[in-house]
Every structure is written in structure tokens, then in C-alpha cells.
Subunit: 93 residues, 7 copies
């Protein structure tokens, strides 16, 4: 995918498939859940909002955060604001 | 269309036709979906909100973001705030 | 109409009559629609919110944006904040 | 009425009697309507919010804006924030 | 009552008894109503929010504004933010 | 209890037991009620939000304000933001 | 768990298991409850939001605050903004 996120946004490829549901969801608890994915591109950071997030990191974010974008082959990505990312895991090189 | 967007707004021609629905929409998931369109005009950027968006870019935005404007022939456009654009694809020249 | 809008507001004469409806409106899509009208008077612009809007412009705004004002003959106008105007069309002189 | 509005507020005598209704109001359209009244007193303007509003002006405001105050004879007035006033009409002297 | 309001708050003794109601209130109009009371103590004013309110003034405020405090004899007072006071009446000395 | 409140928060021991209710509460009036308790510890005040609140004061706050914390013996305390405290009573020493 | 929280966020291991419930929760009172956990990692503090929170502290937070993250073994953690932490207990060394 060739998309360049706008300033303060991050492009992510989800690690797990999204579950589908028709109707109203009754969660087991009121606790917000997370999802994770690999950071593909970063649109730069806004002033005073510089985060330690790099392409290749595994990023965690609220399960329904961000907006889904599909490429021509139907593959789904997430664009999310950098300040909605909860944390990252990074492989030591 | 001759419209000049106001400061911080962008005029877009949608790539896909809008789907119609009468009634309440039950989405498959709680994940926000996106739409895309070609940037036709930009009303300039607000101070400290300068985005890398140019006329001719394909812009992605939340599916129901922005406001629809119709020209005299009934053709529909979107005016949306620049900071609601998720990212852009640009053809190399 | 003799009304002078307050700072940051614009007085507009709608181009199309407002449609009437009794009850709840189920829009065809979730996309916000627009309306247009001619700018009659501007109450000046707030600091850092100077827009390129002039008396005589055709202004576009969200369909239900602004507040309706009726003059003594019952004719209806809209007063709307300048930063709610989506864009303008201007006749070259 | 002897009330001195606080900073940034305006005391107004409505021009038209308020209509009464018991229950839920279904407006003809989704467009916000306005009311008007004569400005009796101004509590001064906040910094960077100086409006061109004077005692004696006919002020327009959203129909249900402001808060009603009754004097001892039961006569009703409105106190409203200056930045909620849409515009004024002023008699040339 | 010995209470010292915190910065930016005012202690008031209501002039009229509060009406009691069990259930849902259907107001005659959508217009917000006011109540009044005597200012007993002021916790000082926040920076850039200095109001002309003094102990002894009759202050007007939105009918359900502020929070009720009862002293040991069961008598009820209101603590309200100074910037929620609509206006005051003051006896000339 | 050994808890140190974070910056801008206050630890309080309620004076009255909390009433229990199962279901929906229909208050007698729409007026917000208060509760009171003794200030045990203060986490310092934020810049430009310095309040005259001291350990030992009896503090008043909105009845359901703050968050309940239980120690190991099951005794309940409240942690509340300093700027939600309505006022204090202090014993002269 | 290897996660590095983003700026202004804290990684916590809950002390008590989360209770599960299917459906709507009717709390005994309207008072917000708290939970506690051990601070594992801190993503640094934002400017003007420096809190006295350290790894190893027992932190208290609103019962449903933060977002749950699960590691590969299914163990659950919480990531929460530092300014949502109510207070901490720290063992003297």
C-alpha cells in the first residue's frame, strides 16, 4: 500500500483478523480491549507530540480505534492518530 | 465546479458512488471505514496545521466525513477539513 | 434586512426554499448535505480566523447550519459563523 | 429591572411573548429559529470578545438561548452571553 | 454556615424554597429558568475571571445550577461557580 | 491508608456512610447534592490551580464526585480532584 | 511483557482479577469504584504533567479506566494515561 499518512497519523497492518458481528455487542466486561499491528508508515509527528514510534514496531491500540482503509486487492489497513497508540514492541537489531 | 474552499478545507471528487440506505445501518464491525477521492482544490492551511496534501492527490477520509455539495448538473463533491484527511496517494511525475 | 451580524458571523439569503417536514427525517445516507445562499453582510472576522468571504459571494454551508432570522415581511435569512462556511463561488468582475 | 449582568453577559427584554407548550416540540424543520429583544444592559465584554452591541439595540439570538429572569411584577427578561447574540439592528440617531 | 468556598466559587442562600417533584419535569417552554439568592461568601476570583460580585448582593443563576450544601440544622445553601452567575442586584448604601 | 494522591488530587475520608440503592434514582429535585469528608492527604496543586485546602479540613464535594478506594480492611475513601472541591470548613487552632 | 508505553502512558499489572458480567451492570451506588495494580513501565511524562509515579508502585485507577493488553500467554495488562492514576502506594526501601 502506497498511502502516506497525514501529519500525526500512522499506517498499520493489523496482526489479527477483525471479528465480524451483526448487531449489538455485549462485552464480557466494561474494560476497553486492544488490538495490535505492524507500523508501516508514519506521517510525521505534530509539535509537542513526538512519540517513540518507528516503522516495523508492533503497535497496540484500542480495538476499534482508527479508520480502516482497503487497497485494491481488498486487504485492510488501519490509519490511526499517533497519540492513540498505547505502546510499542520493538525487535532489537 | 468553481467552489473555493475556505481556509483549512479541501474540495474532493469521490472515487466511488455513495451507497444509499433507508433506515438504520448495522455495520459488520465497530471499525470506522474510509472512502477516497481526488483532491480538486485546497483553501489553504491553518497556522500550525500545514498538511502535505496537493491538488491531484487521492485522499482517504472517514466514510461519512465532510459535507456533500452538488453542482448544477447534480454531480456531488465533498468539502472536508484538511485535518480529517487520513492520508494521500500521489502519482510520481 | 438591516441586521449587522456580530463579530465572526455572516448574514446569508438562502438560494433555495427550505423544505418542511413534520417528524423524524431518515436521510438517504449518513453524509451531511449542504445548502447555499448569497452573503449579504459580514460582522468582521475574529483574530486568526480571517476567511476569504465577501458580500455578494455564493456561500455553501451545512444544510441545517446557522440560525434563521425573519424580517417583518416574513422573509427568512440565515446567520451563521464564518468558520462554518464550507466554501464560496465568486463572480469575476 | 435593576439587574447588572456579569462580565460577558447582556440583559434583554424580549419583543415577542414566548409561546407555551406542554410536551415535546416537533419543529417544522431542523433549522434553529431566532428570537429578538431590546438590549437593556451589558455587563462589559471579556478580553478578545468585544462585540458591537449597545443598550437600545434590537438583538437577535437563538430562540431558546439564554436564561429567563422574572422581576417582582412577573415580567420576564433574558440574560444571555454576548457571544451568543447573532446580530443587532440599531436606530440611527 | 462556616464554609469557605474554593477559588472561583460563591456561597449563596436561596431566596425561594426549592420546589419538589417526583419524576420527570415537563417545562412549559424550552427556555431555561433562573433562581436567586443572597451572596454569603466568595472564594476569590480566578485570573482573568474577576466578576463584580460582592457579599450581600442578590445573585441570579440558572434554576438548577450549583450544588446544594446543608448545614447541621438542615438549612440548605448553594455553592456555584462565579462564572455561572448571570447578574446581581445591589442595594445602594 | 498509605495512598499518596497524584498531582492535583485529594484523599478524603467521608463523614457519612454512602447510601445504597439498587436501580434508578429519582431525585426529589434536579439540584445536585453534596457530601462531606475530612481531607487526609493532598497530592500538591497544579500550576494556576492552587486551592486553600489543607489536611484536616472538612471538604464538601458533589455527592457522587471522585472515585472510591478501599483499603485492606474494607474501609472506603474518596480520591477527588482538588478543583472539584466546593469549599472547606477549618477548625481554628 | 515487553511493551514500551507511549509518552504519558503507564503499563500496569492488575492486582485483582477482573470480574466478568454479561449484560448491564446496576452498581450499588453511583460512586465510581477503583482498581489497583503494579506499575511495570512508564512511557515518560508529558510537559507540565510530571507525576510522582515509579515502576514498582501500587497504582490506583478508576475500575474501567485504561485499555487491556494481552501477551502471548493470555495474561492481561492495563495501559492507562498517567493523569488518570488516582494515587500510589510505595514501599519504603
Amino acid at each position: 500500500m502506497n498511502l502516506k499518512p497525514t501529519l500525526g497519523r500512522v499506517l498499520i497492518k493489523r496482526c489479527e483478523p477483525e471479528t465480524k458481528s451483526g448487531g449489538i455487542i455485549i462485552p464480557e466486561t466494561a474494560q476497553e480491549k486492544s488490538a495490535k499491528g505492524q507500523v508501516l508508515a508514519i506521517g510525521g509527528f505534530e509539535k509537542d507530540k513526538e512519540f517513540d514510534i518507528k516503522a516495523g514496531d508492533i503497535a497496540y491500540f484500542a480495538k476499534w480505534g482508527g479508520t480502516e482503509i482497503k487497497d485494491e486487492s481488498g486487504e485492510a489497513y488501519i490509519v490511526i492518530k499517533a497519540d492513540e497508540i498505547l505502546g510499542v514492541e520493538r525487535k532489537e537489531s
